[in-house]
C-alpha cells in the first residue's frame, strides 16, 4: 500500500501497442510524476476482469499531478486528480508530508 503523500512515477508502458488489452491509465499521464493524495481501497484488477479472468484486488489511489506539467495551457487553479491502480505506479521517494 502506498502512503499518502508518496511521490510516484506512472509507468511509461504502452500495452495497447502489444495487443488486445483494457487499461484504465490515460495515455497523457504515462511517464509523469505525481503524488498519492487518497487511498480508495483495493478492487479486482479491471485489466483481468475485462477478459473474464480471475482478478486479484489491486489498491486504487487518487494521484495528483501538476497541471502545468501535463498541459501548459489552463489556469494555475486547475487541479488534476486521476484514479490510478497501484501496479501502474512506481514509488520515487519517501512521503512528502
Amino acid at each position: 500500500m502506498l502512503a499518502l503523500g508518496a511521490q510516484v512515477l506512472v509507468k511509461n508502458d504502452w500495452p495497447e501497442t502489444r495487443g488486445p488489452c483494457h487499461i484504465r491509465t490515460p495515455h497523457y499521464l504515462r511517464g509523469h510524476r505525481g503524488v498519492v493524495v487518497r487511498q480508495f481501497g483495493a478492487y479486482p484488477n479491471p485489466e483481468d476482469l475485462a477478459f473474464a479472468r480471475p482478478a486479484a484486488p489491486v489498491p486504487l489511489y487518487h494521484v495528483a499531478f501538476s497541471r502545468r506539467d501535463i498541459w501548459p495551457e489552463g489556469s494555475d487553479r486547475d487541479e488534476l486528480l486521476v484514479e490510478i491502480y497501484e501496479h501502474w505506479l512506481e514509488p520515487t521517494g519517501a512521503a512528502s508530508r
Binding site: 495515455h27 497523457y28 511517464g31
Partner: protein
Amino acid sequence: MPDTYPHATTDDLPRAMHDLGGATKFMCEPVDIEPHALTDFDKEVDALRQILGARKIMGVDELRRCIEAIPEADYLRLSYYRKWIRSITDNLLQKGVFTEAELRAELERG
C-alpha cells in the same frame, strides 16, 4: 516539464483510439453536456447488459474492452448504445454463446 517524458502535445503518443482524454486534437471542441433522451433501443440495450451481468455471462469491464476493440471507423460512427450492442454481440460471439449463423438467422426472422 517532467524529465521522464518531455512533450508539448500528446498527439505523438501511441494512444489507443478510444483514449481521447487530453488528446490535443479535441482541445478546441466544446463538450456536449446536454442531457439526451433515451430511446427504446437504448433502454433495451441497457436492460440486456444488466441481465448479462446478473447472470454472470458478461461484466462491465468486458463491455468496455469490447467497445475499445471496435474498429476506429465504426467506433467514431456508432452512437453510445450502438457501441454497447456491438460490444455485447462481439463478446457473446467470442464466447460461443451463439454463432454468427444463429445471429444472422434471428436477425432475418425479425
